[in-house]
């Protein structure tokens, strides 16, 4: 199938590919999707005490659109407040990458990955607070 130029660009030059230390208290990790469905995204966000996302890294198993969606998301959330990042909708991602209808699920997964990473970060903070 023909991919949009933006998908190809992200696929060939993925932004922020890699991992952050998942044991770091300031890092939230979201792992969404399933190998059986052909898509798994891991998104990690390093968040400071003001709730600002200082760094973002991804690793993705999936088609070109899934890789591009996760790569794009890391560039969008960097520097954002987590409350702002939570507002990102899959439609924004799909529009930016000109995803065809059969690839919309890739953008849905990327949205889920942001929410999962933030939820993981909040869980960590809550258990940290409880421990103190």
């Amino acid at each position: 199938m023909a991919y949009s130029q933006k998908v190809v660009d992200h696929y060939e030059n993925p932004q922020n590919m890699g991992s952050l230390d998942k044991n770091d208290e300031s890092v939230g990790t979201g792992l969404v999707g399933a190998p059986a469905c052909g898509d798994v995204m891991k998104l990690q966000l390093k968040i400071n005490d003001d709730g600002i996302i200082e760094d973002a890294k991804f690793k993705t198993f999936g088609c070109g659109s899934a890789i591009a969606s996760s790569s794009l998301v890391t560039t969008m959330v960097k520097g954002q407040h987590i409350e702002e990042a939570e507002q990102i909708k899959n439609a924004d991602i799909a529009r930016e990458l000109s995803l065809p209808p059969v690839k919309i699920h890739c953008s849905v997964l990327a949205e889920d990955a942001i929410k999962a990473a933030i939820a993981d970060y909040r869980r960590k903070r809550a258990s940290q607070a409880a421990a103190q």
Binding site: P35, A36, D39, G64
Partner: protein
């Protein structure tokens, strides 16, 4: 700017038309335009002679006689005619048919159509190596079984079925044996007498001939096989397939068959096997976590179907776009279901998503294999670096222990 075409490793999908085939066809698109059915003038005679020569050439490839060859539009039609034609002719004898879960859709969907018309069809499972269990087949044959349809070699994984044993079993039980031999004819010796095949499907474009033409072998003796025609009209092809014969296409199929016979007998096929083996050993030397899909021993010499674990097939295809090949992943389909053939072998869905089919052919070179190897190895390493699953595998995490959320 002319488009730079990729290396062609998709010869199980279609093959290039051999220049010698094209050359043989051209006069029949030009001055030799006669209708082979015109019995009263030289235009017709000339065309008819060409058609009959092609019939001889096709028959010679499979050890049949010319009268047993019926020209069709391709193997989809041949499979439809063999299965539906035999079922409708012999339905008073019985309404049970046996086929295999890994057959081509043209066979499976013909069987589904017959089920809607009151026939009963058994779809046999295959073993992990992709071959059927002969005991399972023997047990499935009933007094009302009229036809067994098993392909010679699979289009996705190239696995060759135990055709001679199936033929012998069908003879013993008095059941007709149809074999879709489309993938095999360019690479493997096929003899309908020795193998006990009663109906055999042929496609030109899988054997370096043109698209739009195929044939069905229909046994004329011991036993004489009868079929109900599916297309009505002028009664061409002994009433089995009406429609004016496309002389140029038939000439192309005939020439392609002659060249395949030479290639098999002259050792050219062994060169293709050597290229395929060079590709597989090259991949294994550079990459871990590769899984061959289907039997290695019982396999077409040109086919390699391998799962690159932790690298999704479509992303892989995008990365290796210098190479034309196919993926068993189905990321674009609405169902997200990967290859039904791989699933029938019991391949994990996860691994099925990472499968790539390489189909080598007559016109490939060692230099192409080496170039492809370098590209594939580089891209797999890159995509595994990107893969959270490969990272987890390397950390020793059992991926099956994780509660994944299906989406």
């Amino acid at each position: 700017m002319p488009r730079v075409m990729p290396i062609y490793f998709d010869n199980n999908a279609t093959t290039p038309c051999d220049p010698r085939v094209v050359e043989a066809m051209i006069p029949y698109l030009g001055e030799r335009f006669g209708n082979p059915a015109s019995r009263n003038h030289a235009y017709g005679w000339e065309a008819q002679e060409a058609v009959e020569l092609a019939r001889e050439q096709v028959a010679a490839l499979i050890g049949a006689t010319a009268k047993e060859i019926v020209f069709t539009s391709g193997a989809t039609e041949s499979n439809n005619l063999a299965i539906k034609g035999a079922a409708l002719y012999y339905e008073k004898k019985g309404k049970h048919i046996i086929t295999v879960a890994t057959e081509h859709k043209a066979v499976l969907d013909s069987c589904h159509a017959l089920e809607r018309d009151g026939f009963e069809v058994s779809y046999l499972d295959v073993k992990a190596d992709g071959r059927i269990d002969l005991d399972v087949l023997a047990a499935a044959i009933r007094p009302d079984t009229i036809l067994v349809s098993v392909m010679f070699a699979n289009n996705e994984i190239g696995v060759i079925q135990p055709v001679a044993e199936i033929g012998a079993l069908c003879k013993e039980k008095g059941v007709l044996f149809h074999c879709d031999a489309v993938q095999a004819l360019a690479y493997v010796p096929v003899n309908v007498e020795a193998l006990g095949i009663d109906l055999l499907s042929i496609s030109a474009h899988k054997m370096y001939g043109p698209k739009g033409i195929g044939a069905l072998y229909v046994r004329r003796g011991r036993p004489r096989v009868r079929l109900q025609a599916l297309i009505d009209g002028g009664g061409h092809e002994r009433g089995l397939r009406s429609g004016t014969l496309p002389t140029h296409q038939i000439v192309g199929l005939g020439k392609a068959a002659e060249l395949c016979k030479e290639a098999i007998e002259g050792g050219e096929v062994e060169k293709i096997r050597a290229l395929r083996d060079r590709l597989w050993s090259g991949l294994q030397a550079e990459l871990d976590e590769l899984y061959l899909n289907g039997s290695w021993e019982h396999r077409l010499p040109n086919n390699l179907n391998v799962s690159f674990a932790y690298v999704e097939g479509e992303a892989m295809m995008m990365g290796i776009k210098r190479i034309a090949c196919s993926s068993g992943s189905a990321c674009t389909s609405a169902s997200l279901e990967p290859s039904y053939v791989l699933r029938a072998l019991g391949v994990d869905v996860e691994l099925a998503h990472t499968s790539i089919r390489f189909g080598l052919g007559r016109f490939n070179t060692a230099a192409e294999v080496d170039e492809a190897l370098a590209i594939i190895v580089e891209k797999v390493k890159f995509l595994r670096e990107m893969s959270p699953l490969y990272e987890m595998f390397k950390e020793g995490i059992d991926l099956k222990s994780i509660q994944w959320e299906a989406h």
